[in-house]
Assembly symmetry: C2
Homo-oligomer: 351 residues x 2
């Protein structure tokens, strides 16, 4: 038997998750030499992706939402990159890299994946072997966050050259790509983030304007940096930020609702008092989830395009890499509190 | 000189308009025999339309919004039907019926309209002479409210047979048409209104369900009457009603924001705390204004279709007709307070 450290989801937190209480690290064992039933695979997990939407899965399972609730006292799941070490499934060969997709990859060192689960939760993704791009990119800029940026801006933002795009959480896993695609499309791009270091990074990426929403007046900075008003708001924050943007939105503006992280960890949602601007300014506010079928359909086009951009250096991508599976709960908490810089991932093993 | 009673807008109200203080009736005179400059016309006004959106025009003119602010101490304007009694403009002949459109028709007994204003504010609409339909219909079911219902439901609601449509303010100028079009398209249609008499009328019109939002629990009635959830919400009310609908909306629901009357007359907007459903349920919330060019473009198609429906009895239309120009301020106040039943109009003269 081989030792197998796991990330366990215990129960729903009231506000922020509490390490050791609502999620924890546990030691288990796994038999890597067991005989595999038809369809089963054994994988060694290499990279785990921790993302804000995971907070929404930490709920009472009787509440329906887009991503299934985590099961109490079970191994947590999310997007992962792994390598197949043993297979009795024709879709997966030993040595294949596999992507644990749509939040289904197990957060543990090794996984014995049953056939039916392997078929829906994992897909071969050997691209890193030929592109030479870091494995971590495949759960970030080339994974769910990248696709989210791409689909959200293009399909729901309907950008037109010369328009103003404002991105909140702009140095995050999704925001930094949104901004860079925006620049490539000829938009005036403004972003906000929660530290001066992050703001400096946004300017490095070519954002036309950037500010620290924690130390500067959101209202004044939006006025100053978006002098023509906001045509597209790529929304990841919600609450007070949304209220400010509604004040500065232009007629016929589009609000692309990708996330509302400020509202995930509170039992007292922020009350929005100016939603009437949706009417008077004829705004369109569109919520979307990248995992919906019609959005996942963009994946191939996106991966091809974005790989090219990365290889040509047209898009940069900043990551914070935590080392070791035991740091996963803290890494997730950091994301929910905005302490990460760029895409937060956890590297748990080398290939 | 001929006596000419006028409706005067005095100044912006803080909450509800106050008759005699923020809007009033005034006596003036007009010279109906004067020589007309090139382009001028003199019209006798027959029907005035009072509508909720007019409250938004009673504001500080420095605040921009979709409909221009009323000018202080000036004749109020809105949609009207009138007859030309004298013309020095090739577009208008004596005896022509004219529609004072996009809120530009003068609210007075007679108007001497300058050429430049006549060209943008008035259009010949002799249809009632051949259809035999009441003049009042041409500022209601066949005017701006009818077009609003038609465009809003079709273009922004994107209805699919079998879906559930919920209409607030359902017995009003717009709502009663939305519901009837919804039934014609094969939707499950539910409406709410503010009196049992109005609710009975909705059932008469063929609504599948209807309730009195003042005496019944909105939450319980939505649960009961929309057992499959709400796919399309035709929004005219805002505030607490919107919050309830967000709770009952289905994934991929559309919220067509036509108005938010509950928020027009208050200095303390209702705080919405569940806007996060836009994200988790992937809702689209679209504000629209019928006067926008791309919506006005539907006018011809709409008038042809709707005239046919009315003549065939497929669509019914309920009105409250106030008699006499001096009752205009009260009629408008009634609309803002929901005291009218159906479309509120003011008849000020016979043809």
């Amino acid at each position: 038997m081989t030792s197998n450290t796991q990330v366990i989801y215990v129960k729903p937190p009231k506000e922020y998750p509490i390490i050791g209480e609502t999620m924890k690290i546990a030691k288990s064992t796994i038999d890597l030499d067991c005989a595999l039933s038809q369809g089963d695979i054994i994988i060694k997990n290499l990279v785990l992706s921790v993302d804000p939407y995971m907070r929404g899965r930490m709920r009472d399972p009787s509440i329906e939402s887009y991503a299934p609730a985590f099961e109490f006292n079970s191994v947590m799941t999310g997007d992962t990159m792994s390598v197949v070490i043993k297979s009795n499934n024709p879709k997966f060969k030993q040595g294949d890299l596999v992507y644990g997709k749509t939040g289904l990859g197990y957060f543990e060192e090794y996984s014995h994946v049953k056939g039916a689960y392997a078929d829906i939760g994992y897909v071969v993704r050997n691209d890193p072997k030929t592109t030479g791009l870091p494995l971590t990119y495949y759960v970030g800029v080339l994974g769910m966050p990248g696709l989210t940026a791409y689909v959200g801006l293009q399909k729901y933002g309907k950008p037109k050259k010369g328009e103003t795009l404002y991105v909140s959480a702009a140095s995050g896993a999704v925001g930094q790509i949104v901004g860079q695609i925006g620049k490539a499309l000829g938009l005036h791009v403004v972003g906000s983030a929660g530290s001066d270091e992050k703001v400096a990074y946004l300017k490095e990426l070519g954002f036309d304007g950037a500010f620290n929403y924690k130390t500067q007046s959101i209202d004044e900075k939006l006025k100053e940096l978006c002098p023509k008003g906001i045509d597209i708001y790529y929304e990841s924050v919600g609450g007070e930020m949304l209220e400010h943007v509604l004040n500065h939105a232009n007629n016929f503006g589009r609000i692309v609702v990708c996330g509302m992280i400020s509202q995930y960890n509170t039992s007292n949602p922020y009350p929005i008092r100016n939603i009437i601007y949706v009417l008077t300014k004829r705004l369109t506010m569109s919520g979307f989830i990248v995992m919906d079928k019609e959005n996942i359909a963009y994946e191939e086009e996106f991966m091809r395009t974005c790989t090219q951009w990365l290889l040509e250096g047209k898009i940069k991508y900043r990551e914070t890499v935590a080392e070791g599976i035991e740091n996963t709960p803290q890494a997730l908490l950091d994301v929910l509190k905005g302490k990460n810089f760029g895409k937060q991932v956890v590297k748990i093993a080398d290939l």
